[in-house]
Symmetry: C2
Subunit: 582 residues, 2 copies
């Protein structure tokens, strides 16, 4: 089989204006960005809002290996399969981050014959939305340090006289807004900034800071959760970046930087229209990383797609404990929209990896035996898939399991897994998907199963309500959403919880950051762990995004590069074509 | 008069494909990026290279005030004036940096009725080239720290066994590649990275680092100086990022990251086509900052423009000691192309500011008296303009002085200045430009003067030759190019010079970073200082760009935000339009 990039390059694509028109957009509702991308204007919603809303399908997965189990392949393949059944359909996915692309995991365009194209444009800068988020985020960071520097340099009174502004008296020890960069850069996790060379004071004042990957920026969450430009502006102004010397919150509005941040994201709020290899319209919008962010693409894109098509297929990052949980408990509330059906992607590889019978280490290649038939491995790992089926079912959403076939998989073992799922007591549909090798043709069975489940009534129920206390919300996610036994807050987190309650931020949702490689917060616990504790080491207020962010276990918000990163394979050839991107 | 952004918004623009076609590009030679921008494919050069080359005009200036004297206004106005005289013409300018836009100076689209439009797209992300440079730069930085981390973690031998790579044995004390960000962020000038929390070693190793503004990245220089994609790839691979424990240079090629960096800049190498308010095609490409970079737009854009039009108007940043010097001594050599005429922009305000009679402080508003007629101020400041006329003349390039009129300027004083210039012994043309208030119509006199001077033979001579020693090159720029008496190298710079000579990098050009607010390296020395010394505190090898970079005086490669930054005025209004951008 050809490489992903070669398949993509040799598949003829339609001009993006043809895709846009056939998807139901009018000429003044999009602007082409080159031949195969277009920015979709939010003004289209004024026209199409009255349309009947199509079905909304959320693709999730069992607990994945570090390379992923093919959720995007399945999302794209399913959309292509539905199109082959003559239903109108959109795929809605997030923009890939350059961190994984140059690190270990590689691109995020899907793969094989189920890709968003051109994959190199999707995987690299696309239309610059992540850069816009990064720029707006770091502008606020520069604004904080400049403000403290000038207030300290001049003294509060002189500062006020000279500038006509009110001194903000920010406490440099209570700055919660870090900086971001869209790379895996371990060395920037913890930094000291404003460092002075002996005798020089040009940098102002020294303090501890750190960089997160851009996907973890609150602005990325806001981009996904905003309903329109004015909502974006308002949410940005609510961001709390620090506390002053009296312990009161300081917002970007206080810094008078919220307007400029919004201006910097004015183009980013428009979803980017692309196409799959089979010409299915695909909206790409907002950020990835369901482990350290909410990990779902945007409400705006879903809104446009569901008002234009019979079916909209989107995905939430990692397993159903991760992006799916956040789609249901954070995004669905902000969108006032919930899934009509969930697809859980499972693979033979993923089941075996969850059996506990293999020696899997992060950053290491996966053992070849993982692809060999292994009855014991399959059975042991099946508990993980069962857990995810039960988990999704508790939200009241009809379930389809998609067994994503890898080329190496044996027919016999695939059929065996299918039978195991069919024999479950739950009302679950199952289909083997060959979307990778065969495109939409390989996903027809899956498409039929999804259409069938979409006819059922979804009785969607999130895990908690707005009026619940923050503590109850954290418990709801950990205990009902992960199956944990208990939650323990560090002293720091406990203090932060008290402060958040005092400041009146108790009506927000909660967004837990944890490893995606286990249902628990310990990546080595495979299968369906139970009786575990969820240790929360720190809480962060994301008042603009509308949630309190909880860091669980030793999860890190800035990945590192491995010893032999993927960037080593990437280059241009003598014709100027990109090679090695996958 | 309306604000810049209101003028821009109320002026009807042509669709960019009409601009492209009327400029002589064929449909397959550009890709529209929205309605008013297009990326121009380098493949057009294959077709047009055989065309006769048009005249190449370089706009420079007297020593400016911190707000600039209107070089871009004059560049755009002149191009519009030439178009009104029925000559085919292109403007070629650099992409603005977000640092000054959100800091003090504001946008860089020109102003009044001589702007590149839409100004908000030009001033913000445009087509993402600066972001691509930033991303590629920081990928290399992450690659360096990750490599050292893994080599130290595993030990050289185990690293080699495990990865199959050769250990690079980079000396963490000799890393010359910093990180970059496109903001004014004082706090990032000097940082400690890889800092560990007590007991934790997840970040690897701690070291001193710093951030430059993206415009100062060697990659930005490479983007401007590369002739095509393969040249870009080769130059990127030649970048020296560090030295190993034996003192030998380590390149991005050694890190196997040069290919991925090139891939990240693959779209950035295509210039962005826009238009002026009067429909003159404008190519926007590469980075600004002639103080801390070479400060000129790209060779590729010039090459396309000069093969399509009778006249190409471009600009070099700041005064003729800055961007113009680098255009002549660095860019002209790499391009094998030199200016046929230079325009020196002068203003009444600028002359008075150079008189030494006013109390001007960086970061403070300029005194209102600067706009009142003042015979003594004009006469005293005239020495600065004379210096720049002599400076440009020594390169053998015919000169036009453009007096850029501000609305407040008196007719009488403008005529007086014009007469003073006409009375000079040099063969200089002079014209008052009202390009700001009247567009091309206000620049007709200037356009005629430029066309006249372009008929003369330019006898272009750079200040030094390739075979000259690095020391001689530094002296040539300081003594011939600035009028200094002497050059002193710090001990550090002297050691670096010795090392560069030993390593065989003596055939490179030199790029001096210094204040743009004086011809000397001391920003307080106004007018035409003489008998000064140029202190060089540090040398940096830019082997990919093809020059040795010299830091003079106390010049800083990362600006800071002022106490009341421009971002405070920028916002969206209730219709979603940008306000406050200028």
């Amino acid at each position: 089989m050809l490489s992903d990039i070669d398949i993509c390059r040799t598949t003829p694509l339609s001009p993006i204006d043809e895709i846009a028109h056939s998807a139901g957009l009018e000429s003044n509702e999009f602007q082409s960005q080159g031949r195969y991308k277009a920015k979709v204007s939010l003004s289209c919603l004024n026209r199409i809002k009255a349309h009947r809303k199509g079905k909304f399908v959320l693709v999730t997965a069992m607990t994945p290996t570090p390379l992923g189990e093919g959720k995007t392949v399945t999302t794209i393949g399913l959309a292509q399969g539905i199109a082959k059944l003559n239903q109108s359909v959109f795929a809605c996915i997030r923009q890939p981050s350059m961190g994984p692309i140059f690190g270990v995991k590689g691109g995020a365009a899907g793969g094989g014959y189920s890709q968003v194209a051109p994959m190199e444009e999707l995987n690299l800068h696309l239309t610059g939305d992540i850069h816009a988020v990064t720029a707006a985020h770091n502008l606020a960071a520069a604004a904080i340090d400049a403000r403290i520097y000038h207030e300290q340099r001049l003294g509060y009174e002189d500062f006020e006289t000279r500038t006509g502004l009110t001194a903000l008296r920010i406490d440099p020890k209570q700055i919660t807004w870090k900086r971001v960069i869209d790379h895996n850069d371990r060395a920037l996790r913890m930094v000291t900034i404003g460092r002075n060379e002996e005798g020089k004071t040009i940098n102002g004042y020294e303090r501890e800071d750190g960089f997160d990957i851009s996907a973890a920026s609150e602005l990325m969450a806001i981009l996904a959760l905003a309903n329109d430009l004015q909502d974006l502006r308002q949410r940005i102004g609510q961001i709390v970046v620090a506390y002053n010397v009296d312990g009161l919150p300081i917002t970007t509005e206080d810094l008078q930087v919220a307007g400029a941040m919004t201006v910097s994201m004015k183009e980013a709020i428009e979803p980017t229209l692309m196409q799959t290899l089979e010409g299915v319209p695909t909206l790409v919008h907002a950020g990835p990383f369901a482990n350290i962010a909410h990990g779902n693409s945007s409400i705006i894109a879903d809104e446009i797609a569901t008002h234009l098509a019979d079916f909209t297929i989107t995905e939430g990052g990692f397993g159903s404990d991760m992006g799916f949980e956040k789609a249901c408990n954070i995004k669905a509330k902000a969108a006032n929209n919930s899934p009509d059906c969930a697809v859980i992607v499972a693979t033979l590889r993923g089941l075996k990896a969850n059996s506990g019978l293999y020696d899997l280490r992060p950053g290491q290649a996966m053992p070849a035996e993982l692809f060999e038939p292994n009855q014991a491995g399959l059975s042991a790992g099946f508990a993980n898939l069962q857990w995810h089926i039960n988990n999704v079912s508790q939200y009241g959403v009809p379930v389809v399991v998609a067994i994503n076939r890898f080329p190496q998989d044996s027919d016999e073992e695939l059929q065996q897994l299918k039978l195991m799922i069919e024999n479950l007591p739950q009302d679950v549909e199952v289909a083997i998907s060959e979307a990778f090798a065969k495109g939409g043709e390989g996903a027809l069975q899956l498409a039929r199963a999804v259409i069938k489940q979409c006819q059922k009534n979804s009785t969607f129920t999130p895990l908690y309500q707005t009026q619940d206390s923050l503590e109850d919300k954290l418990h709801a996610v950990a205990i009902k959403g992960y199956g944990a036994k208990s939650v323990s807050l560090s002293d720091k987190a406990q203090q932060q919880l008290t402060q958040l309650n005092q400041l009146g931020f108790d009506k927000l949702s909660v967004c837990l950051a944890k490893t995606p490689l286990s249902i628990s917060t310990d990546s080595t616990k495979k299968g369906a762990p139970a009786n575990f504790d969820v240790p929360i080491r720190e809480l962060k207020l994301c008042a603009g995004a509308g949630f309190v962010y909880a860091l669980c276990g030793n999860v890190m918000t800035m990945p590192g590069l491995p010893d032999k990163p993927a960037f080593m394979n990437i280059d241009i050839d003598s014709d100027g074509h990109i090679i090695g991107l996958s």
